[in-house]
Amino acid sequence: MTNASPRAASRWLVYAVAGLAALALGVVAFRNLPAPDPAARDASPILAISLPDPDGREQSLSQWRGKLLVVNFWATWCAPCREEMPMFVQAQSAHGARGLQFVGIAVDDVPKVRRFAAEIGLNYPVLVGGYGAMELSKTLGNSVMALPFTVVIDRTGNVVLTQLGPVRAAQIEKLVADFL
């Protein structure tokens, strides 16, 4: 390319710019890429979770395999969590017999969990994870590690909902209609 014409030089420049553009776009796209869609995920890692109940007995989530399983991370210091849980209690009563199963995972300590459970008449199991449960929720898609955080697993073991923030009653009704 000793005597490249201005036209050829310009062409090379276009290639160079295009190459840079592709690289830059790749960088930007990568940075803005949402986490892999958890809604399409196999729930095996979640069902493998084992945590103690308030009596200190290890409980594996796999015991509820085959149910429409709503795993709700919560804490007594989290007002939006406390707000949504009475609705979970109602939904558990209404649809439990058909296969809806709520399980709470408390990022909290046992005495506070017991007190609140008694207060709202909790009718579904709660496991107590302390702060470690927060880290656990991160691996399930709770990237900012806030509460409430809810993962719903259908009867065939697929994650069908991952939600940070309160779940509405209408969402639960829809899940029941769609998956039970």
């Binding site: 710019v17 553009a21 776009l25 930007v28 989290c78 007002a79 927060m134 900012v144 806030a146 509460l147």
Partner: protein, 183 residues
Amino acid sequence: MPGPARPDSLLRGAGGTGSPVARAFAFVGAAFLLLQMGPAAAQGKLLPTEEAFRFSARALDPRTVEATFLIADGYYLYRDKLRFAATTAGVAVGPVALPPGKAKEDQFFGKVETYRDRVVVRVPVDNTAGGETLTVRAESQGCADVGVCYPPNAQAVTLTMPKAGAPAGPVIDATPPKKRWFN
């Protein structure tokens, strides 16, 4: 054709000459804009706790630290969950007078006070003479208005205490603002 300029004329305008090189640059620019607009338009993105509640501090004098939380819009901290401690051996934090927050009646927690936007707290420290380094640890807990709460979070900064009569030290951020490439 009336109405908005067509994309190719926009590109030519942006590129100036309409040469392939200019067009390539204009294309890159436009693509950047589109990509950057995407996540901003799709709302509902929550900040990690240390970005929602930015802790910083500076040493005012040998015996006083000024602690600040910058609270992102749409987020708040609970007044009664704020704690300060010195993690440097032999140094203790004195009683802290927290400024009043905004009172609200919480259906679960009763009367609570919350801070929004910014809270500045003077933290007295014992056993400092000036010249030494001091690590101040702040624990806080807050929520976002969209209906999520963050667990109690500890952040720390290490300050050099000024000698008596010396000017206040610089503001030190617990989590320096992240460098971002394109914004």
